[in-house]
């Protein structure tokens, strides 16, 4: 990756693939972002103008932050640690578990999945303690490997 300052224009980030294809991202002084793609032997580059919002979305796709989106779940992987993939699943708490605590259900013991957050009307609980009692209308955020989440869904969340 080559970064260069272009006075009166902006900043240019440029990368060349082994094949000779080149991609450049230019942050213009005007606030617009231009994405250049120049194929190895092409005469002219293709240029897309992006807003910062669009660029951010594109960026998160490219970094692999969101690899697969299935139903309400996402799988997150990290460019730094290629082997690590974390599935995050979001689902409403079924009526059956309302009034019971995480400890009562022994969710982690039985399935391996962990509840990392509970969204409750108006406030959210990050890293709930084992004593936390579920209420009707809670939305749960569960992390774990794919199989663990499936198991958790099967046992408690249906």
């Amino acid at each position: 990756m080559r970064i260069s300052e272009l006075p009166e224009i902006g900043t240019k980030y440029e990368i060349e693939s082994p094949k000779g294809d080149r991609v450049a991202v230019i942050f213009l002084r005007t606030g617009e972002i231009e994405l250049y793609v120049l194929e190895a032997r092409a005469d002219k580059p293709a240029v897309a103008k992006l807003t910062s919002e669009e660029a951010r979305r594109l960026g998160s796709v490219l970094t692999g932050a969101m690899l697969t989106v299935e139903q309400e779940g996402v799988e997150v992987s990290f460019s730094e640690i290629a082997d690590l993939r974390i599935n995050i699943h979001v689902c409403p708490a079924p009526k059956a578990i309302a009034g019971k605590s995480i400890k009562d259900l022994a969710i982690r013991k039985r399935t391996g999945a962990t509840i990392i957050a509970i969204a409750r009307s108006g406030r959210s609980i990050i890293s709930p303690s084992p004593e936390t009692v579920f209420e009707a209308g809670d939305v749960l955020v569960v992390v774990g490997e794919h199989e663990q989440i499936t198991a958790c869904e099967r046992e408690f969340l249906q």
Binding site: L6, P7, E8, K12, L28
Partner: protein
């Protein structure tokens, strides 16, 4: 009410011509000059508050130099080949035009001004056309941008020299070093001030009200007025344009100043448009010095020469930096348009009444109106020209080898 009528004429007609030139994908600077010509002294003579219009234009000049100073970056300039590119561009184009001026029998000062006008490309036009023609991914775009930065620095230096040299003409030549010394003193003063007060400036520029813009103008006008006042006191010349340049450069070190830049660029664009218009108002259009045919021939010769110059320097730079003449020819094509600086220089020379002959004035005006148009065409077809020229060179080489 006079000035309102004037402002109405200026803004309405610049708007119309500006839109037309953008629509035709041409640089707008020549359009604004033409508007000035039409409504000014040589044309319909409709502008009444003439001095007022000129003042507004001068604010545009100050803001332009301030902006260039802000963008100037010495560290980037030092990178591989950039200094070489800058000097090649200067030596080839300046000396070609200098020789031309000398050949057609101009005075030393006129020759100097002509050479300067021919050397200096228009950063504004060149940079806009790089973006619009989608050239930013190519390595030569970077070379071109830094070439413009180098040229801008040369502008600042040459303006200082010109201001000093022409004012010293009526005094002792010994005073020139004194001018330069005082200018340097001011530069040091500005940078020390900005550095010492950096905390105060940072917090003031961070505000969301009218304080930041007031602060910029207070600094800009304050230092310029100080320079003017000191100049008249000890009879030296310090150009306010140089002050603006170095103030911009010093403020680029203040982190929060960036927030204001967009607004300043907008103001600069507005006042600079008025400057080009006011330039159009004041130039006399007379072709009496020479028969029209001779004038047109000289003008064409000058244009041909300056195209040749940029292509030669471009080819040399391309060969050295990118190892390709073809790339170099594209650099030549892209740096062809001349504009704001050529106009500014002539405006300063005229204002100081340096005895520039009408021939030179008309020549330069014709030149800055025609070259951006040619430049726009070349920029659009830069690729094609590079390929055509290099393939025809190859053909000639092959042809030369065949008879053996």
């Amino acid at each position: 009410m006079n000035f309102l009528t004037d402002l109405a004429i200026i803004s309405v007609f610049c708007l119309i011509l500006g839109v037309a030139s953008k629509y035709l994908r041409q640089a707008s600077i020549p359009a604004y000059i033409l508007a000035g010509l039409v409504f000014g002294k040589s044309g319909l003579d409709l502008i009444t508050a003439y001095e007022f219009v000129q003042w507004l234009g001068k604010i545009g000049l100050l803001l332009l130099l301030f902006y260039i100073g802000y963008e100037f970056n010495l560290k980037g300039m030092g990178e591989r080949g950039r200094i070489f590119a800058g000097f090649t561009d200067f030596l080839v184009n300046f000396s070609l035009a200098f020789a031309f001026g000398w050949l057609i029998g101009l005075t030393l000062l006129e020759t100097f001004i002509l050479a300067f006008v021919v050397y200096i490309s228009s950063s504004a036009i060149v940079i806009t056309s790089l973006i619009e023609n989608k050239r930013l991914i190519y390595p030569e775009a970077e070379t071109i941008v830094w070439l413009m930065v180098f040229e801008d620095l040369v502008v600042a230096i040459l303006l200082a020299v010109l201001v000093s040299a022409t004012s010293a003409a009526s005094r002792l030549v010994i005073l020139i070093p004194l001018d330069i010394a005082i200018t340097v003193l001011f530069i040091v003063l500005i940078s020390v001030f900005v550095r010492n007060q950096s905390r105060l400036l940072t917090s003031l520029f961070d505000r969301d009200d009218e304080i930041p813009i007031l602060l910029v103008f207070a600094l800009l006008f304050g230092f310029s007025a100080l320079a003017y006042w000191l100049s008249s006191l000890v009879h030296v010349e310090v150009s306010e344009l140089i002050i603006a340049f170095f103030l911009g450069s010093a403020l680029s070190g203040v982190r929060t100043f960036k927030k204001l830049l967009g607004d300043l660029v907008t103001l600069k664009n507005f006042f600079l448009t008025i400057f080009f218009f006011s330039f159009g108002i004041m130039i006399p259009v007379t072709f009496t010095a020479l028969p029209p045919l001779d004038f047109i021939l000289i003008c064409l010769a000058l244009i041909a020469l300056s195209l040749l110059g940029k292509f030669i320097s471009g080819a040399l730079i391309g060969k050295k930096l990118h190892d390709s003449f073809e790339t170099g020819l594209r650099i030549g094509a892209y740096t062809t348009p001349r504009g704001e600086f050529s106009v500014i220089l002539l405006a300063i020379a005229l204002e100081r009444d340096l005895g520039i002959s009408d021939l030179v004035v008309s020549l330069i005006v014709g030149y800055v109106i025609i070259l951006p148009i040619i430049g726009a065409l070349l920029a659009k077809n830069g690729d094609w020209i590079g390929k055509a020229v290099s393939s025809s060179i190859k053909k000639v080489q092959n042809g030369a080898q065949k008879p053996r």
